[in-house]
């Protein structure tokens, strides 16, 4: 039976294991790294089979689901179970690594422009990635996200303790001919501070990271400016409130 049990990875990845055997195999997965790895790969493979039969649900389902969301309470992030040999500290570290990996993925597939304004300490892409990881692993990292009436999406990742903000955009059309997009940080008082100019990729995505002190900025915005950028924003197309 023990030699046999490794052969169940395929059946498990397809949910083709009867309930009583599933529990036994899941115990085995905790002890057998080879099977655990194979199951992850085969589940990813099975998901491709699922994706291949995509079919739009009836449009009214969306409103029904969105209406229910407000009533459903969300689970907290990690389970700090004391029974785990690893202990709560490493669980937390693992989760942060996961978060960082996810947003790094955003950055690395976006084909967008990453604009870095810094004190010269970021000199290659690996260091840029490291800066993103540091931002995402900050204790006080916060996310805000919004959609403009014209359908552009913006997501800001902010850490006050690190003085960093990263702006990710999606669905952004190319700037009009002879114009450019410019990102800004705005405080309650004083002039908006330019973060720099950028151009979204063909899919309308861009990632902008400013590693300068964000100071008391409470808004991040994007405007359309003459090529080369301006001293002050003219046509603001997106503005988001930053978390305090």
């Amino acid at each position: 039976m023990t030699a046999d049990i490794h052969a169940l990875t395929g059946a498990y990845a397809l949910d083709a294991i009867p309930e009583f055997e599933r529990a036994a195999f899941e115990r085995h997965l905790h002890e057998c790294d080879a099977c655990a790895q194979e199951v992850r790969e085969l589940q990813a493979t099975a998901a491709r089979l699922g994706d291949a039969v995509a079919e739009s649900p009836p449009p009214e389902l969306k409103a029904r689901v969105l209406a229910r969301v407000a009533e459903v309470r969300q689970l907290p992030p990690a389970q700090h179970s004391s029974a785990r040999a690893a202990g709560p500290g490493s669980t937390w570290a693992l989760r942060l690594t996961g978060v960082a990996a996810a947003v790094l993925l955003v950055v690395s597939v976006s084909l967008g422009v990453l604009l870095v304004q810094d004190r010269g300490e970021l000199s290659d892409r690996r260091q840029e990635s490291a800066a993103v990881v540091r931002l995402l692993s900050a204790d006080d990292v916060r996310f805000v996200s919004g959609t403009t009436t014209s359908g552009m999406n913006g997501t800001a990742v902010v850490s006050r303790s690190r003085g960093q903000v990263m702006l990710l955009t999606a669905n952004m059309p190319p700037a009009p001919d002879g114009k450019t997009y410019q990102a800004w940080l705005m405080a309650r008082s004083g002039k908006p501070k330019s973060v720099g100019v950028f151009a979204p990729d063909q899919a309308g995505r861009a990632s902008i990271m400013d590693s300068m002190e964000i100071g008391d900025a409470n808004q991040v915005g994007v405007s359309v400016e003459a090529a080369g950028g301006s001293d002050t924003p003219h046509e603001v197309v997106m503005a988001m409130q930053l978390p305090a």
């Binding site: 052969a7 395929g10 949910d15 089979l49 649900p57 992030p77 597939v109 084909l111």
Partner: protein, 197 residues
């Protein structure tokens, strides 16, 4: 203070739809706007897969709704280092759909129904219904590269929610053989599709 503009090379993956992983992170923080965008991204694959298994349209909608609300509820448990968001979503959807059809089957007539469901649908129906959209063409091609027994076993298990025991009875093949075919069939698909190791 130097200001530099950089272009990040994204490789050939540029056509990927935006970032279910990033949306899940936002959803985990209670962002309903991000959930709506996640809905737009995953509801088609979820509904298509659930419907393939559950068949009945009204029940398929119910299960799809359950799955999407489960995503909202458990978004914080998504671990990106263990697989992509779409894999996580579709693994959950498949599990829920299978739970629905298995609980609907009384234990006594399970095999009987498996036969009847089979009689309703010839083997190659699923392969034919696989969308011909360009990115799905590869899935179709890879499925057809399997041996008949591998393909039939994988399709019966995945698209109809049968257990390997039911597959073995249906195909009149020993249990051990079916277990092996499910595994080596998926491994061949994995390699054909270039799923990351």
């Amino acid at each position: 203070m130097a200001e530099r503009v950089r272009r990040i090379a994204g490789g050939a993956e540029g056509v990927r739809p935006p970032d279910a992983e990033a949306l899940l992170l936002l959803v985990a923080r209670g962002d309903e706007g991000a959930f709506e965008r996640l809905y737009d991204l995953v509801s088609g694959p979820v509904f298509g897969l659930v419907r393939r298994i559950v068949r009945d349209p009204a029940q398929s909608e119910e299960v799809t709704q359950e799955v999407l609300l489960e995503l909202w509820r458990t978004a914080a448990r998504f671990a990106p280092d263990r697989g992509s968001a779409m894999t996580w979503v579709l693994t959950l959807a498949h599990r829920r759909a299978v739970d629905r059809v298995r609980s609907a089957q009384a234990a006594t007539d399970r095999e009987d129904r498996a036969y009847r469901r089979d009689a309703d649908r010839p083997f190659d129906e699923v392969a034919e219904q696989v969308s011909t959209r360009l990115e799905h063409e590869q899935v179709r091609r890879c499925l057809s590269s399997l041996t008949d027994l591998q393909r039939e076993s994988v399709e019966l298990a995945y698209y109809r929610g049968l257990t390997y025991r039911e597959v073995a009875e249906l195909l009149d093949t020993p249990l051990g053989t079916i277990k092996t075919r499910l595994r080596d069939g998926l491994i061949r698909l994995r390699d054909c599709l270039g799923v990351a190791r």
